[in-house]
Amino acid sequence: MRVMKKADSKIGFYFFQGFILLLICLVVRGAFLGSERVSGFFDGISAVFFPAILVLVIGGGFIFYRYLRMGPGGVVGLVGGVLIVCGFVWGLPVGHKFRQRHSGGHEIMEGRMVVYEGAAESRVQTSEGRMCLPFEVRLNDFRVEYYEPDLPGGERKVKDYLSDIEILQDGESVLRRMLEVNKPIHFGGFHFYQDGYDASAGEYVVLKVVSDAGLGGMYLGFLLLCAGAVWCFWFSGLLKEGGIGNGN
């Protein structure tokens, strides 16, 4: 067990204890505020400002205070955490605006499209107006599956929503898949989700289109964070510090 000796480590220790406590307070405050108000808060410049502070403080701490590094597992976990924060910000409206500026304004971040059964569609309604995907989405079929009612004549609960989706590029079919809840279709940098349907006549479905920007970084971050946690706490923590056969 390492014991802090240097005075600078002491300052760092108090600083980071305070920082973690502050983060806990902010997150708890966020839980009371509700998801809409908190996500609204992250629409503007604060979406870059606060994550940047977070990354700078933690990253700076690792550079300046040796004791914070907690071995290679800790570093792997930290890199994972930074990647998650960066990927998250890249996927936010702020990241989107940055990409818009560099791509000439053709980037779709999130939007909805209405696709009629048997028809192909590429227009997406976004908060910035109507935009077009570089390919078409065709709905071959849509159906709702129900559970058997508990009692004869009782209410039937929905089991699944299924859309038979085909992606067309230059008029040619390049992908055909069943779109289900929890199983979005991924194509051309976008995820497609079912967002609604024509309940009266069953003629169309509403698809939610979400850009996958930043997702690769986040997933890599997830992997590193988990690897770091296992390394730091199961291997280093349990096996070396006070674990099996240590006699502690």
Binding site: F16, Y67, F233
Partner: protein
């Protein structure tokens, strides 16, 4: 409070009786009998979970009733393995925890079978909830460990406290990665279901706060080198309270209506 006059209810009550018996026998220092009673409690809780699975037709983790049956089932093997593998003692309190976990399933929540809504039908369902449950069981034990030991014998010394603190640290080390996996798997599932990894939902926020509390604990313990076992323990009790809030309050209180309200 509702008493369940069904096979499901009978199995839950049987498990509770065995766990309570284990607690009493453990307090009287009959360790072997206590372990037998704990095993019997586990078998009854396991039977209850299997019964629920066949009855409802899905893995019994879909609402709080099912989650508590599941917790009542996993609590015993986890604590048993902790002792065998890591030398973290089984306490009388562990049996009591088993009975207390099953109490809401037995008397509070409705046991009516439910059809799983489409959003809960995912391969991530079992790993996400299972990881959290495993983590919570371990971290909860870290939270009450010292109290449990304190009531078990008189003349509790400073060195006992230091030894117990080390056992608590091992429990936290074991449980914390499970919290991380649960958080990450939840994010991946949220992306698949709702189109974003993080939605600032109250349950998500509380689980992140819990994760941060344990980060705070590890940071404190690492920074002070284990010189303040009492303060380390304060962090763990703090974490225990957050686990309870995340597991229960975030679901039951109307203050935190959100996307995780399946109970």
């Amino acid at each position: 409070m509702v008493i369940k006059y069904s096979v499901q209810g009978f199995l839950i009550y049987l498990a509770m009786v065995f766990y309570l018996l284990g607690f009493l026998v453990s307090m009287l220092k009959f360790r072997r009998f206590a372990i037998l009673a704990g095993t019997a409690g586990f078998v009854a809780a396991f039977g209850s979970a299997v019964y629920r699975w066949t009855d409802a037709g899905h893995v019994p983790l879909g609402n709080l009733f099912e989650v508590f049956i599941f917790l009542g089932m996993v609590v015993w093997p986890i604590y048993f393995l902790c002792e065998r593998v890591f030398g973290i003692k089984i306490l009388a309190g562990d049996y009591l925890v088993g009975a207390m976990i099953l109490f809401p399933a037995g008397f509070v929540f409705s046991g009516e079978p439910l059809h799983l809504p489409p959003v809960l039908q995912s391969w991530l369902f079992i790993p996400h909830v299972g990881m959290y449950m495993g983590g919570y069981v371990l971290l909860a034990k870290a939270g009450y460990y010292v109290f449990g030991r304190f009531f078990e014998f008189q003349g509790y010394t400073k060195s006992d406290l230091a030894n117990d603190e080390r056992a608590c640290y091992k429990l936290a080390c074991l449980g914390f990665p499970f919290l991380s996996f649960g958080l990450v798997l939840g994010s991946i599932w949220a992306r698949d279901a709702w189109g974003r990894c993080w939605g600032w939902d109250p349950k998500e926020m509380w689980s992140l706060a819990t994760w941060l509390v344990y980060m705070g604990y590890f940071h404190f313990r690492y920074g002070t080198g284990g010189r303040f076992p009492g303060w380390n323990y304060v962090w763990l009790v703090f974490g225990f309270v957050f686990v309870l809030i995340t597991l229960l309050w975030a679901n039951l209180s109307s203050l935190f209506a959100g996307l995780h309200s399946y109970a």
